[in-house]
Assembly symmetry: C2
Homo-oligomer: 422 residues x 2
């Protein structure tokens, strides 16, 4: 059972633009694959009701009728930069995430008390302490006495803080109500495809490349593919935990298969390797060279409040103890990721409010479209042409919208271009 | 400058019942003294605009126009039991407290960046760890490395958790935006009067004695005064920090007089002595005997999820370092508190939804009113008579209202009797 929304998805006709979300006055970011399509692909009835977790009546009915063994809660606004754009987005992020999770906790308590909650947290809850990061708890000896306590948290954005608040609230609910929970403190995810998403184009995965919803490695790969310098924030020594998107899915499965005990708040650090931003830039540069791309890097002013050089050593043994065999980031993965991006996604990359990336992408797209005419009439060429025209038109519309007070852009299926969104 | 609300206060005509709050459909809990009265008492212009901190337009204007050196933020739902009554009250507590504080942080950042935020936290953020509690931060040595990190937090209710979330959010805002803040992690307050509140009856302080908004020692004193057994939750070994209400006010003053540095998130543990619930019961019993009251205690099932026997040793030296000279809880204070309660407050104690306390109080009141008729015609007797009749009538109304689905009781100025409120 998947309850809640990942950023935003709501019901729409599946054809044109998705519906406008009445809550924050933006269009939804991506459509949910029709449940009929999923059911036919996997040969099983696969109901996929779509609601927001602020709708407690829906949650009550869903937990009562479905009586789930486990509930996977990914339903949160998931971007740190988005949460820092302005006051309303900070408020929205914490209201959506923290209050929504309280609703999920109450729904479990009242209607499915044996249900195992599998909740998506983030490694960003820990910040960058100068000591080793443990998995959720740390044993402290202080003035001759010892206790095992929640690991101290230091969020770097109102988004990360919302996850910290969730962890505290859930920990309390486990103790007070006997709820069982696994909090997956996930690292930065890279990659595009899982065996499930490549089963049919209708299940193709969303790829964010921008500075707000995009994650670092995916953004670097897109930048390499479109010939834009990799944008390294500040000194590039920022180090984080990373994992392949296939391991993300596997970790959720492992948590469900070995549930937490009644009343247990269990924390897994869900990543497989640590890299600094400079490490990532170097790896993408090397992988690009192998497929004929000349990749350069460029340091840009760091928009975040964070240490750019620091100690970082985070434990991550619990999921491996349950059987996770990590897909490590090697040349083969980076090569295939680059090729996949080049083949599948560059035509979908929409004009972006990041002027650097937008200008570079449009220049490349224009070159592809307005280059040698030898492929005229070719279906691929026609698609590219249409994409470029749409992008150009959208960009003009967007520029106008951005200049209007509180302007909101229209969007295609893959990219909502509210100011600051992408 | 006092921004926000303590539980609820809103604009009303200052005469009849205060207005109904549209947000949670309850009446406000107490009225704010008219600013004209305060101004005339203290001989200075004392504007007291009353708004909710969800009203960002008000906050913007207030911080811009007033340009405060310090802002004291007491504007939060302050009851742990209230936050645990049901889902809507958990949601309300965290929304009101956490989102309201984000608004205050943004208002300071945008309109008064030098303003020193003095924020009311709670000692309950720490829970009851098996190691000494430090003031906000703890130095941890782990695997051969050392760092000073936020003290691990373990809230025991959605109210305490809301304060934990505030602390994390404010700490981040101090680091990211250079805001200066003092977080006063306050213990349990006892006492009724300060030199300011006894200056005029219009400033008389609110006294909560119930199981939801009342604090332990005040409740025990009221129970002793009306002849009800002191209600000890469980084993009574629960130990917390306590302080005199006069020290509360003094601590705020000391924090303002020695502000935090730019970007500093400073935490003071604001209490002066530690007591267990059994300690308090013993002290009140002894003090009662001295003024002729026979006080008994009774263990009742503990409605809270908490350890009833535990280690507790919390540091509290920073405020004393700034000059706090504590009013310790001695016989003299307890005697005067008991007398004050007997003289001033028993006639105000309204019928309570706690059947034990209500029955006991009404029996005592009835005895006072229906006893020897020697004082017939006496103004004090007439007041008592009116109070009893009003209580009896209100209780009947309340019983009816409690039986109605979602019923809400009407209330006088000093006691809002929504089910679960008192």
């Amino acid at each position: 059972m998947h309850c809640g929304t990942d950023t935003w998805h709501t019901e729409h006709d599946g054809q044109g633009d998705p519906a406008v979300c009445w809550r924050c006055q933006v269009r939804v970011l991506f459509r949910v694959p029709p449940s009929a399509a999923i059911s036919s692909l996997f040969g099983a009835d696969f109901p996929l009701p779509t609601h927001h977790h602020s709708d407690y009546e829906f949650l009550s009915a869903a937990f009562t009728e479905f009586s789930p063994t486990a509930a996977v809660h990914f339903g949160e606004q998931r971007s740190a930069p988005y949460s820092m754009i302005d006051r309303s987005k900070s408020i929205f992020t914490q209201a959506n995430n923290v209050l929504g999770t309280i609703n999920v906790l109450y729904a479990i308590k009242e209607f499915a008390p044996q249900c195992h909650l599998v909740k998506l947290g983030t490694m960003g809850e820990y910040g960058t302490p100068n000591i080793d990061i443990e998995e959720g708890f740390i044993t402290i000896t202080h003035n001759g006495r010892t206790d095992t306590l929640p690991y101290p948290k230091q969020g770097g954005s109102f988004y990360h803080l919302s996850k910290i608040h969730d962890s505290h609230n859930i920990h309390f609910a486990c103790k007070a109500w006997g709820i069982r929970c696994t909090d997956l403190n996930q690292g930065v995810v890279y990659g595009v495809a899982t065996p499930e998403t490549i089963a049919d184009p209708v299940l193709i995965n969303r790829l964010d490349y921008d500075g707000v919803f995009g994650t670092a490695l995916n953004r670097f790969v897109i930048q390499a593919a479109v010939g834009h310098p990799l944008t390294v924030y500040g000194k590039g020594g920022q180090t984080r935990g990373f994992l392949d998107i296939r391991d993300t899915v596997r970790c959720v499965q492992l948590a469900i298969d070995s549930p937490a005990n009644v009343g247990e708040f269990r924390v897994f650090n869900q990543f497989t390797e640590q890299f600094s931003v400079n490490d990532l830039a170097r790896l993408v540069t090397e992988a690009g060279a192998k497929v004929g791309l000349k990749v350069t890097s460029k340091s840009v002013p760091n928009p975040r409040t964070e240490m750019e050089e620091h100690y970082y050593n985070a434990k991550h043994s619990k999921l491996e103890g349950l059987g996770l065999v990590p897909h490590l980031l090697g040349d083969a993965l980076l090569d295939s990721l680059l090729k996949c991006v080049q083949q599948r996604y560059t035509v979908h990359v929409s004009a972006c409010t990041d002027p650097l990336l937008r200008a570079s992408f449009l220049a490349q797209l224009r070159h592809q479209v307005q280059g040698p005419r030898e492929h005229e009439g070719d279906p691929a060429r026609r698609r590219l042409e249409g994409c470029w025209k749409r992008n150009r038109q959208d960009t003009q519309e967007q520029d106008r919208a951005l200049k209007a007070p509180g302007g909101v852009c229209v969007s295609g299926r893959r990219c909502a271009r509210q100011p600051g969104f992408c």
